[in-house]
Each structure stands twice: as structure tokens, then as C-alpha cells.
Amino acid sequence: MNADHPHLRNVAIIGSGPAGLTAALYAARANLNPLLIEGLEAGGQLMMTTAVDNFPGFEDGIMGPDLMAAMRKQAERFGAETRTGNVLSVDLSDRPFVITTAEETLRTRALIIATGASARMLGLPSERALVGHGVSTCATCDGFFFRGKPIAVVGGGDSALEEATFLTRFASHVTVIHRRDTLRASKIMQDKAFANPKISFEWDTEVLEVRNPAQGLVSSVHLQNLRTGVRKDLEIEGLFVAIGHTPNTDLFKHQLEMTDMGYLITREGTKTSLPGVFACGDVQDHVYRQAITAAGSGCMAAIDAERYLEALGH
């Protein structure tokens, strides 16, 4: 912190998943006294997982939330400061950059964006009305409520099949509803799902409506086969939506270069289109999207920010 300007920071990091926490760890160890701001989905997507078996160093796997708690403690050990609060706006047209949260306004010389990506929803009004009452994007959180009940998972990627497989622990049956007739998921996940007697598939199928918002519970989904046009109802009590993620970049619209899908564009490591602003993790990566790649790019962003500040003379 700067004595003259109590709200001026060298480095602020927005986001507290593996990318943000690794950036905080490296920036703290470089004596940059970083401030990490974490929002509603503190800890990021790993907070919604169970065992993480592909993070190197944990030969028996580690629970996602435990991994995030450990990363946070490690960053804090070296002096990273964390603040809870949703960022309402970021003004990159002024320097130092201005960050406004519900509680305060602060300025920072360098900004590291690690806001990640959030689960996409289908976008149906009936779906929105039933979140928490049968519609969920978090199998590990909500699978428990569907013990012995039929449920469905929408999606065809790795996370959809992983959720479907996980949910068979609780549900009597899991129907995977997918818009195409082939899966995007990896071979290993597909084999697992096909071999599971509790999982069946509705191919080439779209969800038109979730019923029944008037009862305040999910009772069925109304489906349409995209090839034949045939519609039907599937009786289920839970609907898990796993149709991918969208990057959390609304705050930076018209301020930073993005792809058509809204991912931040980075060059030469983690540099965004604006000097002094760096991006790491899923907010700039729609290809790898792993905890370890996010952490790696968080490290890169901290080093890039450090060099930027050095060149400025701080």
C-alpha cells in the first residue's frame, strides 16, 4: 500500500480461482503487496468439483475446495491481501486504473484479470424460475437432493458426462440430453458413461421447457427431437445443465480486445490490448481450461506485471 494514497495498489487481481491465487502468490513473493478481489464464485469452478486427480503433486487426488483453500493460504502466507466483494465496474481509461466494488473504490497501477468463466444456462424462463428447486449447474452441490429419483443432464462434453456419472451415485436414472448424435467428451469419459447401466441418452434433442414452475418443483422436461421434430415429455425431478461456460468479461467490454465469444485476447504471454492489464486462466483460454494451465498462466501474469511495474520505475 502507498502511504500517500491509501487506496492505491501496485497490483490488483480480480478473481480467486487457480489463476488469480497463483498470480497473488507470485506477486506477493515479489513484494508487490497484491490485493486480490474475489466475487460471488470465490475459489472458481474448482469449488464445484469433488476429487481433482490431475493436479500434479497430489498423487491420491485432492478435493477441489481443499486445493483452493490451500492455494489461498499459501498466497496469504506471503502477504497477499484478499477482499470479498463483487466488482461493479472497472475504468481502464484512467491511470492508475479504477476498480469499484460495492464497498469501495480503489486504484491500481497494474491489473491482473482472472475472472474465469461461469456455467452457461439454457436461457429458458422456466429454467430460471426453478434454479434451486430442481434445476442446477452444480452436481456436487445438489446431487444429494435427488437420491432415488430420475434426473437429466443437458450437454455432451466432458463436464456433462462427468456430472452424469457422478449423479448415478444418487439418482435412480440419469438421462443425458444432447443436441447432436455424437459427444464432444473425451473417450475415457464416454466409455465410462456408456458402461454405466443407470445412464441413457436422448440424442439430437433440445429442451423446450422445464415443468412445472407453478408447483415450484421440476416434474418433467418438454423435449424436441431436432431431426424428426417429435416432441415428448420426460419425467424427471432434477435437471443439471452442463452446456459449457462463458467467460466473465462483461466488466471489460469496449475496454479490452476480446474474441467473438468474449474471451480476452492475450499476446506475448498474458498482455491484453492495454499496457498494464494482464489476463490469465479461463477468461483468456477456451482451449485448455485446466486448473494447472490456469495456475501456470497466473504465474506468468504476475511476472509480466512485475516487469511492467519495474519498467515504470515502481
Binding site: E41, M47, M48, T49, A69, V131, G132, V135, C141, F146
Partner: protein, 110 residues
């Protein structure tokens, strides 16, 4: 760590401690294995400090208390409900911003 102002609600004490309470009560439905619930915990702690004793703030573990969980049709966590005069008057699902919960409490804590 968890604020000592946080009350633990159960199937056993819910009727007396929540429904018959003199003040509005905020109930956080949570479970050990729910990551977003853990992420929300500091916010719930902060609310207990900010609003006590005007509002009673507590947690109900859905794993250990199936009756209350069923009664209020909770099917996703974290779910936050506000009770007043024995009635559930407001609810919100998911890890939400402290501001949203404050607005909810301000509305009912008059």
C-alpha cells in the same frame, strides 16, 4: 473463522429457534461437501456481526436435517431463507453478493 454469533439450526430446534423467534431469522441451508457454500460462509459471518441482535443468523446442515430441508423444498444449496413471524418471507439460491442479502434483511428487519 465462523462467527460465534452464528446459530446452528436443526430439525429439533427449528420450530422454537426460527419459527417462534421474536426477530427475523436468516437461515443458510448448507453442507460440508458444497464448495459454493464454503465460499459464502464469510459473507454469512459478516451478516451475523452486522445485524446481530436485530436479526438472528444461523445455518442448517441439509445433510443432518432432512425434515426442515424437505419441508421448505430445498433442492439446491446454498439456499438462504428469511423467516419472520413463523413464515418464510424471502429466499435466494446460490452464492450471492452480500449486498443482495443485506437488501433482503433490511426489508424485513424494520
Amino acid at each position: 473463522m465462523a462467527s460465534d454469533k452464528i446459530v446452528t439450526f436443526t430439525d429439533g430446534n427449528f420450530d422454537t429457534d426460527v419459527l417462534k423467534a421474536q426477530t427475523p431469522v436468516l437461515v443458510d441451508f448448507w453442507a460440508e461437501w458444497c464448495g459454493p457454500c464454503r465460499a459464502l460462509a464469510p459473507t454469512i459471518d459478516a451478516l451475523a456481526n452486522d445485524y446481530g441482535p436485530k436479526v438472528r443468523v444461523g445455518k442448517l446442515n441439509v445433510d443432518e436435517n432432512p425434515q426442515v430441508t424437505m419441508r421448505y423444498m430445498v433442492r439446491g444449496i446454498p439456499t438462504i431463507m428469511v423467516f419472520k413471524g413463523g413464515q418464510m418471507v424471502d429466499q435466494v439460491v446460490g452464492a450471492v453478493d452480500k449486498g443482495v442479502l443485506k437488501q433482503m434483511l433490511d426489508k424485513h428487519a424494520q
